[in-house]
Amino acid sequence: MKIEVQNISKIINKNVILDDISVDFISGKIYGIKGRNGSGKTVFLKSLCGLTRLTAGQILMDGKRLGKDMDFPESVGFLIEYPGFPGGLNAFDNLKVLASIKQRISDDEIQSAISRVGLEQDAKKKYRQYSLGMKQKLGIAAAIMEKPELLLLDEPMNGLDDDAVMKFKKILQEEKERGALIIIVSHDLEELEMLSDELYQMKEGRLEKK
């Protein structure tokens, strides 16, 4: 998979959120984007998902224009902002609701995603009883369960304990070896340097390679 971001800009209420960004991403790599709060990282991820309309520019995914040839990327998993699910459902039921839309994966694969993030012991608890870390784990499980070609993660290690961070790093490596294109956004440079193959910095809406 190849993503070509061509001169994209996003302006909201005269504020320039994304400023003429051009960059290419290819499969099998982990890209890190560092930036402080409000630098436009999340909007950039949303634009890669097709969840926000661009003011200018275009995004091509394997030559297809996002928003014109396709509404959303054909195979994408994401964790953007904070993960939110219906509070009355447990981990499996929440993932099952989402998996039932595309019907590409079995119940065993849903269970496997829950185990990979280390939620199997709490799988019967309802979402509203989850801690921040558990919610984050479920968000990651939702992102990876359908084995997407494109994985977009916004501050994925928020609230994770050391054990969960180790598991998450292992998952990232497995996903990378599988051939997924992974983009991680974080304000923590040390964390990104450790995980990424290529590192970028987002500053006032502009993306620069480090």
Binding site: L51, M70, F78, Y82, P83, G84, F85, V97, I101
Partner: protein, 257 residues
Amino acid sequence: MDFKRFVSIHKFWMISLVLGVIITTSHFVEGVLYSEYDAYGIPGNAYISWIGGSFFYSQSYWFYFVLPLLVSVSVGLDYGILKKRNYFFQYKVRMTKKRYMLLQGAKVFSLGFLVITIPLAWNFILTMMERPLLYPDPLVAIGPLSDEIGATLYYSHPMIYTMLYICFDGIFAGAVAFITVALCAIIENYFLATMLPFVICYILYTIGGLFEDSYFTLNRLLMPVYGAKSVIEYLVAASVVVFSMVAWIGLGLKEEL
């Protein structure tokens, strides 16, 4: 989706439905089960005794008065909470915009439609089991007057008239649901957005009350026994439906997608 998952995602819809059923059931208990005659001393008749048949009992008044609130709460709060949690992002990226729009539209309309028609139908069915389905008598003058639209159908085919009117109320409820969701999409505070349709209806109710016949109040328009005085009232109702669709597509979906 099984029942458990449906209930969990549509908690406030279930609460509104239960409230609606409680109001209509209490109407049945007080006005039908423990009342041999109607308030005017007329022997029981299902078409007059059910909750849509008159304002004899307070439950009739309250049900039609809070109808917009039942609908907006039933869709607005669930939608607002999930929107705030970015849950719909997860849905959207797993389908096309067109499919999302169709599914979301069908879901919102159906939820609004059902939350009102189920309690009404429930009350009518209960009443039918207790009271005879006698043809309404135009001489008694409880029912649409001869100059009101649908009066002929009411006296010749009351069952069809009643069913159609329940559907009419359901369509109106579906429109209110669309408006609520559109408001929730553009207003950050989803609680305020949910309350707005009721506030608007209350203002209309108050204005309508200033006029002698208050034909333009929703309570009257939505009650099968009164019907509409003129085509204008149905046109007003139809324009609400059209406006709700435009609001939902133009404002709500534009904001969402």
